[in-house]
C-alpha cells in the first residue's frame, strides 16, 4: 500500500471530476497519465469512455501492476471545475503539490458549490434566449416573451433533472413548457413573431458541451467516446424537437 494507492486515488478523483463536469476524453487521459508518470510510476495506461475511466500503472518492477476503474453516472456541465482540476494537476506534475495537498484540493473542488448561483443561471438562460430571438430575426418586442419562456424552460429542465432518472424526459418537458409559455404569451398579445420566440426559448437547452466534445473526441482518435457523446447530443436534440413538436401540434 502507501504511495501507489494514494496516487491512484487522486488520479481517479481528478479524472472523475473532469469527466463528470464535461471535459474532453483526451484531456482526462492525458492528465491522468501525466500525474501518474510524474509520481515516477512506469507503464502508465489510461482508457476513458464517456461513462468510465480505467487506469493502470506499475509501481516497481517486481510488483504486479495496479489497475482500477471508476464509473461515471452523471454528466453535468460545469467547466469551472474542469479548469480548477486542470490547474491542480499542473501544479502536481510540476512538483508544487504533495499527494496529500493535491487530495485536499481535489476533494474541495468536488464538494464546492456552483460558480454561479442557480438563479443567475436561470436569468442567463433568459438573456441568451432573448438575444437569440433577436439575432434570428425577431423584433425588439419579441425579446421580453422570449426571456420569460427561456427562463421557464431553464427552470423546468433543472428541476425535472433532479427528480427524473431519464435525462431526455427532462429536456422534452422543458421544450414543451417553454413552447407552451411562448404560444400563450403571443396569444395574449406579447410579441408577434412566434417562431423566433420559440427558438429563443429553446436555445438554453442546446447540447453545446456534448456536441463540441464529440467532435473533439472523434478527431483525437477516441472513437468510442466520440460516437457515444455524439449519440447523446443527437438524442438531446431529438427530445427537444419532439417536445416542441408536441406543443405546436396541440396549441397552434
Amino acid at each position: 500500500m502507501g504511495k501507489a494507492d494514494d496516487v491512484m486515488d487522486i488520479c481517479l478523483l481528478a479524472g472523475e471530476i473532469m469527466l463528470k463536469y464535461g471535459a474532453e476524453t483526451y484531456r482526462v487521459e492525458e492528465t491522468l497519465e501525466r500525474m501518474a508518470k510524474s509520481a515516477s510510476f512506469s507503464n502508465v495506461h489510461c482508457f476513458t469512455t464517456s461513462t468510465g475511466i480505467f487506469l493502470s500503472f506499475e509501481e516497481t518492477k517486481e510488483k504486479e501492476d495496479l489497475m482500477q476503474m471508476v464509473r461515471i453516472d452523471d454528466r453535468l456541465q460545469d467547466l469551472s471545475k474542469v479548469t480548477a482540476v486542470n490547474q491542480v494537476s499542473r501544479e502536481f506534475v510540476s512538483g508544487q503539490l504533495t499527494v496529500e495537498e493535491a487530495k485536499q484540493k481535489l476533494t474541495a473542488i468536488a464538494s464546492s458549490p456552483l460558480t454561479y448561483p442557480l438563479w443567475l443561471i436561470h436569468i442567463a438562460s433568459g438573456v441568451a434566449g432573448a438575444g437569440f430571438s433577436y439575432l434570428f430575426g425577431g423584433g425588439w418586442a419579441d425579446m421580453m416573451p422570449a426571456f420569460i419562456a427561456a427562463v421557464m424552460s431553464s427552470i423546468v429542465v433543472v428541476e425535472f433533472e433532479r427528480y427524473l432518472k431519464v435525462r431526455f424526459a427532462a429536456e422534452f418537458a422543458a421544450a414543451f413548457s417553454g413552447g407552451t409559455i411562448a404560444i400563450f404569451l403571443v396569444f395574449i398579445g406579447m410579441g408577434s413573431n412566434l417562431d423566433q420566440i420559440i427558438i429563443g426559448s429553446l436555445m438554453p437547452l442546446v447540447p453545446g458541451v456534448p456536441l463540441t466534445n464529440a467532435v473533439r473526441d472523434l478527431m483525437s482518435g477516441d472513437l468510442v467516446a466520440g460516437v457515444s457523446r455524439g449519440a447523446e447530443a443527437l438524442l438531446t436534440s431529438l427530445s427537444i424537437a419532439s417536445g416542441i413538436a408536441l406543443t405546436i401540434s396541440i396549441f397552434v
Binding site: G22, A23, E24, R27, Q77, D78, L79, S80, K81, V82, T83, A84, N86, Q87, R90, L114, T115, Y116, L120, I121, A124, S125, G126, V127, A128, A130, G131, F132, Y134, L135, F136, G137, S154, D195, Q196, I198, I199, L202, M203, P204, V206, G208, V209, L211, T212, N213, V215, R216, M219, G221, S237, A241, I244, A245, I248, S249
Partner: protein, 149 residues
C-alpha cells in the same frame, strides 16, 4: 448601425451562455468577445455573397482559432472558450423550421431545411477541426507508418 446592435446582443447572449456552462469568471468576458467575433465574421463573410454553410465554417474556424490562442495565454482548457464562442453559429432557427415543416406534413421542405441544418452543423465541426489541426502542430501521433528511428 444594425450590425453594431447585433454584435452587442451577441456579446451579452454569449456571456449568458458562459454562465449557463459555468465557465470560470476570468474567462467570461473573453468568451463573450469570441462569440461576438464569430458573429461578426459570419455576417462579414455572408456579405461577400457566399453561402450560409461556408460563412458558418469560416466563422467557426475564427472563433476556435482565437479560443486556442487565448486559452494558451490565460491557461484555461480550450473548451471553456470555444463552446460559448461557437454557440452563436448553432443553426437553431433552421433546426426549428425543419421540425415545424415535418409537423405540418411538408416533408420536402422539411428535408431541405434538415439538410441545411446538418451541413451548417458540419461546417461548425469542420471549423473546430481545422483550428485544432493547426494548433496541435508538432504533436503528431502518426497514423500510417512508423517514423524512422
Amino acid at each position: 448601425m444594425d450590425i453594431v446592435t447585433q454584435l452587442l446582443i451577441t456579446y451579452f447572449a454569449t456571456v449568458a451562455f458562459g454562465i449557463i456552462f459555468s465557465i470560470p469568471k476570468r474567462a467570461l468576458l473573453i468568451g463573450g468577445a469570441i462569440g461576438m467575433l464569430a458573429w461578426g465574421v459570419f455576417q462579414g463573410v455572408l456579405n461577400l455573397g457566399t453561402s450560409y454553410v461556408f460563412a458558418t465554417g469560416i466563422a467557426s474556424f475564427a472563433a476556435a482559432a482565437l479560443s486556442h490562442i487565448t486559452a494558451k495565454i490565460i491557461r484555461i482548457p480550450v473548451t471553456a472558450l470555444s463552446i460559448p464562442g461557437i454557440l452563436p453559429l448553432v443553426p437553431g432557427s433552421r433546426a426549428y423550421f425543419t421540425m415545424l415543416s415535418f409537423v405540418e406534413g411538408d416533408y420536402l421542405q422539411g428535408l431541405e431545411y434538415g439538410v441545411e441544418t446538418m451541413l451548417r452543423a458540419g461546417a461548425i465541426a469542420a471549423g473546430l477541426v481545422f483550428a485544432l489541426a493547426i494548433f496541435s502542430y508538432g504533436k503528431g501521433i502518426g497514423h500510417r507508418y512508423e517514423p524512422n528511428r
